[in-house]
């Protein structure tokens, strides 16, 4: 059989795919406390006051804000972030508690929202076996299993609560991995961050359940600036999951988060993300700008940090979950599937900075582009002169599902000594009519065939996700694509 390209048919299938519904696009009708739009020192002070923060944290915010004023938004990404009017955004939105003083009682409307999203907030739902911190707009709504985890000495709460209850720990680690001077969005986040999760696993403790934070943007014309801090002390282990959704709106909304992770001697942290922010409609209208700084410091010898991400949402994604491999024999991993459809743009990848001797890193990146989307892998592997005997393996694959989408790779490799080994493999392929027809002939519809082929392509990464998440993520890949071939 001859290989024949049929662009017209491809376009038609993509159009059908574009009509696949974003099923998390609803808005919760709930009373929300929003501070007026705009950003200045008073707004920063007000956020800090609303949260009843200590003086040192306000100082941290103000320093970050003043530094942010001196910065310009980065333009090196292969994405088109339009000029954002930072005075036209509200920096704090909180679902209002109906009964003052009974903050522990969760609003039924909120509970309904998270039920709809499939997030168990009731501790009775033990079957799910997952501890959840739910963040709506700027505040943490509810953290489950907190008491049970506390028996093991595991701290899992919102970062606002952590500031009050464990100020020394927060102060010791906040901003140490991602300083506010790091980049434009990190400075902005440091000035106005609202809430997020805090995790501390004490020495020698293996956290017995998956910890999970679920981020939800609800209010209109607000930004979400959450901040997550995870610390695994010596010999500790934790697996942490992060999920996100937002309503469908015509406007673009800004999400500029920071995740900081510290991994001490022989400790291990597994961080998994299924990012499904609203991607905008089929004409590229609306959607979330997902501009995020995620970094982990493998400070201890034999420490290990593993990032796994499945990115299907957001109009624009700009994020590079990275590892600073400071400890000798430390291990960094990055497994990523980034799928873009319609007019989405993703520029994502990782940095592996080898400072410790015999540190190793693995990068597996799978990009999938459909529609008119642009999908870029950007990565850096840097081995310091003194970091002898290091290894890196990078595999970077792109799969094109349409003639109108783009796949790009921007790898940087710097090796400072001659005892380290770096490998880089890259492939680009296009889903072809022959594969689809082969499936069709065996009785598999085009839609199922694309799902099968894409999931097969992403399998290596999907296998790294915790079981429950993997099933969810597989469905998400199929839904985000429905038949997008060309």
């Amino acid at each position: 059989m001859k290989e024949i390209e049929k662009p017209e048919k491809g376009n038609q299938i993509i159009e059908e795919a574009a009509q696949a519904e974003y099923k998390y696009g609803f808005v919760t009708d709930i009373e929300t406390e929003v501070i007026p739009k705009g950003l200045d020192e008073d707004v920063v002070r007000r956020i800090s006051a609303l949260k009843g923060e200590p003086e040192w944290l306000l100082e941290f915010r103000l320093k970050a804000y003043r530094h942010w004023l001196t910065l310009k938004a980065p333009t090196w990404g292969h994405v088109h972030v339009p000029e954002i009017d930072y005075q036209d955004i509200s920096y704090y939105a909180a679902p209002r508690h109906k009964k003052e003083g009974e903050a522990k009682e969760i609003d039924p409307e909120l509970k309904k929202t998270f039920d709809k999203l499939g997030i168990p907030l009731e501790e009775q739902m033990r079957l799910s076996g997952m501890a959840v911190d739910a963040v709506m707009d700027s505040v943490s709504v509810k953290t489950t299993y907190r008491e049970r985890l506390a028996e093991l000495g595991v701290i899992f709460c919102s970062i606002s609560e952590a500031v009050k209850d464990y100020p020394d720990l927060v102060r010791k680690y906040l901003g140490k991995v991602v300083p506010y001077t790091d980049n434009f969005y990190a400075a902005l986040n440091s000035a106005v961050f609202s809430d997020g999760s805090f995790v501390y696993i004490p020495k020698g403790v293996r956290c017995p359940m998956e910890l999970s934070t679920y981020f939800r943007i609800n209010a209109a014309q607000t930004g979400q600036f959450e901040r997550t801090l995870i610390v695994a002390d010596d010999d500790a282990y934790v697996s942490y999951l992060e999920g996100c959704t937002a309503p469908m709106r015509d406007e673009n909304q800004l999400h500029a988060a920071i995740v900081e992770i510290v991994v001490e001697d022989r400790a291990e942290v597994k961080y998994s993300t299924v990012q499904n922010w609203y991607p905008g409609d089929k004409d590229g209208k609306g959607g979330i700008y997902n501009l995020v700084t995620k970094r982990g410091l493998c400070r201890g010898d034999h420490s290990k940090l593993s990032w796994t991400q499945v990115e299907t949402g957001s109009a624009i994604t700009w994020k590079y979950p990275s590892c600073v491999l400071m400890g000798d024999h430390s291990v960094g991993e990055f497994y990523s599937v980034a799928l873009t459809n319609n007019w989405q743009e993703a520029d994502t990848g990782t940095k592996m900075i080898h400072l410790g001797k015999h540190s190793t890193s693995t990068i597996v990146s799978k990009g999938i582009s459909a529609g008119h989307s642009q999908n870029s892998y950007r990565g850096m592997v840097k081995i310091a002169p003194k970091a002898t005997g290091c290894r890196n393996f990078t595999q970077c694959d792109s799969l094109l599902l349409s003639d109108t989408s783009g796949a790009h790779t921007f790898p940087v490799i710097e090796v400072g000594n001659d005892t380290s080994v770096v490998e880089h493999e890259a492939t680009t392929s296009k889903i072809n009519e022959d594969q689809i027809f082969y499936c069709n002939q065996r009785g598999i519809s085009t839609e199922d065939a694309v799902g099968l082929i894409v999931n097969g392509y992403a399998k290596e990464v999907m296998a790294k996700l915790p079981m429950e998440f993997a099933v969810e993520a597989q469905k998400l890949l199929s839904v985000s694509l429905e038949g997008a071939v060309g």
């Binding site: 059989m1 001859k2 024949i4 027809f437 002939q441 009785g443 598999i444 082929i453 999931n455």
Partner: protein
């Protein structure tokens, strides 16, 4: 079961099939032979609904249904199977997952419940022995890294799994050594019954030593120009196609 009347088809404006007539009944084996470029593979592609080809005339009935009106996957569900000349590789998709999806889609089509994993694996174990496919191959990705012979055996394995009513073997003998040819032919013969039929597309007599045809047709310039019993294949082996070409060309 299959009635092809005056079937005409083109690819990119180029007319390939110019009026094919063929009737296949249950229990029969038909061989379609012919020189390169005569339209043999096009016929299999058109029957199975490859979207690269456009039907420009004629009709095909399959068990009384208008075959050409069905989607490729529904044609498969109705019992049409193609053993591809060049089986396609699908990286990362295991044969288990692939076949299970295919089988369950077919069951869904007939309103049946999906097979349990245990039942499915049992069927898979049984069927793979027909073409001596080992367990390792069955759990690898679809055709990925398979040798030419393994790919063809894998096609017949899929045929065994899907239990089609009509199988089209498109040059299944190409690229096979004699041992693989024997295994493949054996598999096809094992699956043969009075209720199903096979169309064997081939250049050579060799395969027909193993899969005995009831009828041999010669396809030339998009038409079936000669039909006879199995003795025709032997004659072609001996004399080649030139005498038929001359005969046809002089009539035009």
């Amino acid at each position: 079961m299959l009635v092809i009347k005056d079937l005409q088809a083109s690819i990119e404006e180029k007319q390939i099939l110019k009026g094919i007539n063929l009737t296949v009944k249950p229990g029969e084996v038909h061989a379609i032979m012919g020189p390169n470029g005569s339209g043999k593979s096009t016929l299999s592609a058109v029957l199975t609904g490859n979207p690269a080809y456009t039907v420009t005339g004629g009709s095909v009935e399959f068990y009384g249904k208008d075959l050409l009106a069905l989607s490729p996957e529904d044609r498969a569900h109705e019992g049409l199977f193609l053993s591809f000349q060049y089986p396609v590789e699908i990286p990362g998709v295991s044969m288990v997952n692939f076949m299970r999806t295919a089988l369950n889609e077919k069951r869904k089509y007939f309103g049946q419940e999906p097979l349990s994993a245990a039942d499915f694996l049992k069927i898979m174990r049984e069927k793979r022995t027909i073409v001596q496919l080992d367990n390792k191959l069955a759990s690898r990705a679809v055709n990925e890294g398979f040798s030419g012979g393994e790919k063809k055996r894998n096609e017949i394995f899929q045929m065994a799994m899907l239990e089609p009513k009509l199988s089209i073997l498109d040059e299944t003998d190409s690229g096979l050594d004699i041992d693989a040819l024997r295994i493949v032919a054996n598999g096809v013969n094992t699956l043969k019954s009075k209720d199903n039929a096979t169309i064997v597309i081939t250049h050579y007599q060799r395969l027909l030593d193993y899969i005995k045809p009831d009828f041999v047709h010669v396809l030339y310039k998009g038409r079936i120009v000669m039909s006879a019993g199995p003795e025709l294949a032997l004659e072609l082996e001996e004399k080649g196609y030139d005498w038929i070409k001359e005969q046809v060309d002089s009539q035009q």
